[in-house]
Assembly symmetry: C2
Homo-oligomer: 211 residues x 2
């Protein structure tokens, strides 16, 4: 968590976790309940899958378009995953933070670590976990788009990613979507009052002319 | 915040702040909204004031009774304030924490620091602030029980206490009681998901036999 930003300004809420933890569902549900929070939509070069809605799931882009934005530093983070590129375009982030809105980034671990370690913005980072590896397996198997090879690659990757959970500020277990969404809301609300954010406020109180 | 306790166990929620910040009102309202949280009632040797309800505001005790409990280590913390003794009796705390309930301690700064630095329990510490020193002055003046001398002593003490705010995990400004209570609720709820509490959970996931 970066400490320097003012109490009233927007923050990056980074939500990550292994495939199958339910990041997409939880973030979508959160935005429905809390429309004042902005949801960043990533660019990707991966092929559109059944069920994907362009501009909602992702902005689907060609490799050339993606590389052109990357070349001018237009991504907050970008990373390759399973042969495709994923990236968070900066303008949406900067506009919303400047307007005092929190912005949710639902991103993969590699990108999340870039944002957390980057120190450029105030970040609240949340790692979403499945209740058990058995349940994660079932969720990944339930995805019709997954071949057997793709499944075991994702599962192995999920297993390794758990080692990085400790780098995040918060960990939420997603066994029930409603509960996980409420947990995320309380994390977003409660972390506003972290002492690290109150520097300006304390200074102002001490500088008031005493009666 | 102590890191070692298990995710499901009760925590001490320490609420402190200068006289006039509104600790008592905020904690009382919180308990009405969240009856599953236990409120610790301090022992004190100070005289009962108009409006005090024995057993609700404080347990009013003689100096002898107080000293007897102190002598057997029966207080989690105790401290002198303006010539009287205040202390948090242990048995209530231990029973509730063991039953998995969070316990609120609404206590003065000296005692709060003993609990925070003690490291004996998992603590979430919250410092309550007035919106301005001017407003604090008005609140203290509004207390019918305050003499002019007592007022200026409390005001000077409040002014110095602000320097300790940074030792707490969270800072909440009490300009509106309802808002302050909701802020405290989100702090209590959100801090359950701090990564430091998830050690056991991560260990369990990694130890599951992989499919």
């Amino acid at each position: 968590m970066k400490m320097s930003s003012a109490a009233g300004s927007g923050r990056l809420i980074v939500v990550s976790g292994p495939s199958g933890a339910g990041k997409g569902t939880v973030c979508k549900r959160l935005i429905e309940r809390r429309p004042e929070i902005a949801l960043s939509i990533s660019w990707t070069t991966r092929r559109q899958r059944p069920g994907d809605i362009p501009g909602q799931s992702y902005h689907f882009k060609s490799v050339e378009e993606f590389d052109a934005l990357a070349a001018i530093g237009g991504f907050l983070e970008h990373a390759g995953m399973y042969g495709s590129q994923y990236g968070t375009p900066r303008p949406f982030i900067d506009e919303n933070l400047a307007a005092g809105r929190d912005v949710i980034l639902e991103i993969e671990s590699k990108g999340a670590r870039q944002v957390i370690l980057g120190g450029e913005y105030e970040v609240v980072s949340v790692f979403l976990l499945p209740p058990s590896m058995e349940e994660l397996k079932n969720r990944l198997k339930g995805r019709s788009s997954e071949s057997e090879e793709s499944f075991s690659r994702r599962f192995q990757s999920a297993y390794s990613e758990i080692d990085f959970a400790k780098e995040y500020d918060y960990i939420i277990v997603n066994s029930d979507v409603d509960q996980a969404v409420r947990a995320l809301e309380s994390v977003i609300d409660g972390s506003r009052f972290r002492t690290e954010r109150a520097g300006e406020l304390l200074k102002k109180l001490k500088e008031e002319p005493t009666p």
